[in-house]
């Protein structure tokens, strides 16, 4: 199976932006991890993940014997690049400051990226052959809104700062699992009724 059809330019730009922000976070981490900036990096990496399912030649590709599910599975591996950057960044941050909740952040990153890919898969199922721009914009705007407005603590912490890491981890782990199932469901062949 091939990853050639992935929009590597989009994935690379998002990954590079995320990597640059993470490097800054690691370099300037003081007493604790600068979680606001770490989440900015995650937004950039999420944008990279949002483009992995874009398929401009969908009209022809859908008639190929390689099923959409196989193609989606292959393309989804491209999200390993932004996820690898996230993992390296979080681990480096963990080395820099012991206050970094490494495990929780790793699950958070995996969950966010999984949601991005699942959103793209759903839009693709709905007929939008290049869902990346929309997913990146909507998810990015939603994440920025949560970061900036910092919802009241009574709600489940999506991006916790001080506490709430256990609840957040449970949330993102559940979302990641649900996202994987959604990707599979949304990647069924459009011909099959």
């Amino acid at each position: 199976m091939t990853l050639r059809g992935v929009d590597w330019a989009a994935v690379a730009v998002g990954s590079a932006a995320g990597a640059a922000i993470m490097i800054g976070c690691v370099a300037f981490a003081a007493d604790g991890p600068p979680l606001g900036y770490v989440r900015l990096a995650l937004i950039a990496l999420t944008a990279a993940g949002a483009f992995v399912l874009d398929e401009p030649a969908a009209a022809t590709v859908d008639a190929a014997p390689c099923t959409r599910l196989r193609r989606t599975a292959a393309r989804s591996t491209a999200v390993m690049l932004p996820f690898a950057i996230w993992v390296c960044g979080v681990l480096a941050l963990g080395q820099r400051t012991s206050l970094t909740p490494v495990g929780a952040l790793l699950v958070e990153g995996a969950g966010v990226l999984a949601v991005a890919v699942a959103s793209a898969a759903v839009l693709r199922r709905a007929g939008r052959i290049e869902p990346g721009e929309i997913v990146a914009s909507v998810l990015g705007a939603a994440m920025l809104a949560v970061l900036i407005f910092n919802p009241p603590p009574r709600s489940v912490p999506v991006f916790p700062v001080g506490d709430g890491w256990a609840a957040s981890t449970a949330l993102w782990a559940s979302l990641a699992a649900a996202a994987v199932m959604l990707v599979v469901a949304a990647s069924q062949d459009p011909y099959r009724r």
Binding site: I21, Y37, A136, S137, F149
Partner: protein, 291 residues
């Protein structure tokens, strides 16, 4: 069919600009992301919210700028970008029309006044509500300064979309709108370092160079609130100059010949104005006043 060959004078540029600007304004007003932003702006007004910078002494005042800044300004980056890129598919047909790229971009920039108008209306309503509820305000903030701080929300609402138009005109890579939004947010976050520094003109300069700023902060979760130094009016001038720079730079992309030279001069003037406004904004006594 009437043609120019019939002897009628061709329409002036302004006459062409007006209907195109109207068209773009209607497109802006119908954009789903703008409508969602307006909805959340209204919802947020009722539910309130805490600014990321800390517990507000004057919540309405904090909310008064951050809500339109995000829901109209930051979301407007995506709207402005999308509208600017939306003609890309029919570029050849559009570019063969008499209305050149500068006019079309100018019309798009004028359309960015739509969120500004919404922000203005919303700000007026909020001010009325605050007056009716007799919300106590700190005497450390003079009325004119408070007015400038609140008026900035209108500029935020216009500036975000203009930045989106600028990015849409000058770049083509996927996800550019989100990167633009991230740049604005990161720039704003970096500006908060000025608030972390001891009170100084340098700290004020760092604080006020951001495209969005909060004037109230504290030294810790339970510490008393203080008003940051600087001039809200010159800051307002600074961010308005940034808006002008964004619009002019967007139009510059399409300009050729004499018009390009003219726009270069406008860019230079606006650049000087922005720098001067920023320096003047940071010039007043940096001493922080406890609220």
């Amino acid at each position: 069919m009437t043609t120019l060959a019939d002897g009628a004078a061709p329409p002036t540029r302004m006459a062409t600009l007006r209907p195109i600007a109207g068209l773009e304004a209607r497109r802006y007003a119908r954009h789903p992301l703008f409508l969602i932003g307006v909805a959340f702006l209204v919802i947020g007004s009722f539910t309130g919210g805490t600014a990321a910078t800390g517990a507000p002494a004057n919540p309405e005042q904090q909310v008064a700028t951050i809500l339109p800044a995000f829901f109209l300004g930051l979301l407007g980056v995506f709207v402005g970008h999308q509208l600017a890129r939306s003609m890309a598919a029919s570029t050849e047909a559009v570019e063969a029309s008499p209305a050149d790229g500068v006019i079309r971009t100018g019309a798009l920039c004028l359309a960015c006044l739509v969120p500004g108008a919404v922000a203005l209306g919303w700000t007026a309503c909020m001010s009325l509500v605050m007056a009716l509820k007799a919300v106590p305000v700190s005497a450390a903030i003079s009325s004119p300064d408070r007015g400038a701080m609140i008026a900035a929300s209108v500029v935020y609402a216009v500036g975000g979309p203009l930045f989106g138009v600028l990015v849409g005109r000058w770049t083509r890579f996927p996800g550019a709108a989100l990167v633009a939004a991230l740049v604005l947010v990161a720039w704003t976050f970096l500006g908060t370092f000025g608030l972390l520094m001891p009170a100084s003109r340098l700290g004020t300069l760092i604080h006020l160079n951001a495209p969005f700023t909060s004037w109230v902060s504290s030294d810790g979760p339970n510490a008393p609130l203080w008003l940051a130094g600087g001039s809200p009016w010159w800051y307002l001038s600074y961010i308005a100059a940034l808006c002008g720079l964004a619009a002019t730079a967007a139009m510059f992309h399409e300009a050729v010949g004499a018009r390009r030279s003219r726009l270069s001069r406008v860019l230079a003037v606006l650049g000087v104005l922005a720098v001067a406004s920023l320096l003047l904004a940071a010039a007043p006594d940096p001493t922080r006043l406890t609220l």
